[in-house]
Amino acid sequence: MKFASEFRDGSLARRIATTIAAECQPSRGYSFMEFCGGHTHTIARYGLETMLPEAIRLIHGPGCPVCVLPVGRIDSGIELARDHGVILCTYGDMMRVPGSPRMSLLKAKAAGGDIRMVWSTLDALKIARDNPSREVVFFAIGFETTTPPTAMALKMAKAEGLTNFSIFCNHVLTPSAMRAVLQGGSLPLEGVIGPGHVSAVIGIDPYREFSDRGMPVVVAGFEPLDLLQAILMLVRQVNEGRPRVENAYVRALPAIGNEKAQQAIAETMTLRDSFEWRGLGTLPDSALRLADDYAKFDAERRFALPYRTIPDPKSCACAEVVRGIKRPEECPLFGRSCTPDNPIGSCMVSSEGGCAAHWLYGRHRMSNEGRKAVA
């Protein structure tokens, strides 16, 4: 694949890793958080941790939208399909996320709920057009990358005058989650690898608040060489003692992001006062709801969906995994009662989840005691 395979060259990767090792200074720490689950996936898949020197510690962050969605929100989705008889459309990742005991969208579907997996919001719009007598709800989740496609679907639905289409909006904001993780102060962090595809929408400026407070940030693409480049840039920032925000993904993202996408979001959505995250608690100004101009497309208002906080399954350590204070293998259920085939927590569902990435690619087998001791 052009613009992807060139950035997977294994021998070049090893040479860059050698450069990284050469530039690490023994007196300094280099613990970096890869915010995004997509990065966690790449790191695990290509075994980057085994290539890197011991001095570099990579800590998995909260950037997996499925993982940070609290149980109560999944339950609301299930309720939509089960009690309101809607056609519920959602991305594939959502289907197996565990809701309240022994429920998931997949199981609700098996029990007769009309739940359909879609690739794009465009497919959900088509289902609404094709089924004028049914209510069609799109269960929207995701960080800023995934928000513009929802915003565009809203604009199209409004322009077309679709009356049977609505959105259950669960879009969340990267800088808010980053703030929550960094403010905790419980992690020894020397830098953050920023999610490139979020910046393709919001640009790199929103991370200035972190570098202004002394935290180096390098926004990276998703191929192994992209990540190694970002790690080397972070090492250099640490060595120079000059924290700033850098873009290591210039081929795909202009520093300002995508202004059209930002406009579409601003037109259709607005900040929620607060939103509950799995693992991070209830955070102010951290998520989006539909703007009042789009109230009739808002499934929460249309179906008067109540929100209930529901505790995570007992002994599931997702909350700590999401915050980076526990590695997946430190969860007592990891690989025992919780596996991708039978997930107990959401971190084991999507391959971007810390637990699933560790399990799938055996990242847990590679980690050594030293790297474990991040908590």
Binding site: F3, T18, T19, A21, A22, S120, P149, R251, A261
Partner: protein, 82 residues
Amino acid sequence: MCLAIPAEVTELLPGSMGRVRIDGIVKVVSLALVDGVEVGDYVLLHVGFALSRIDPQEAAETLALLREMGELAELEPEEFLG
């Protein structure tokens, strides 16, 4: 989930839509969020929408930079062994 992939635009369609090829698979996607896309361009595609255009010039420069980062290691082997 937040993953976006490079896709080659093979045809422009009405309504700001376009046909793209991703590793041999053909999909119809929205190009509404990126101005001035042309056939032959590569876009970053995410859940049915192009989010940005991939800049071949910048990609080549990054690859050159990466090679440079790798060469440092070859030139100074003693430094990193110790």
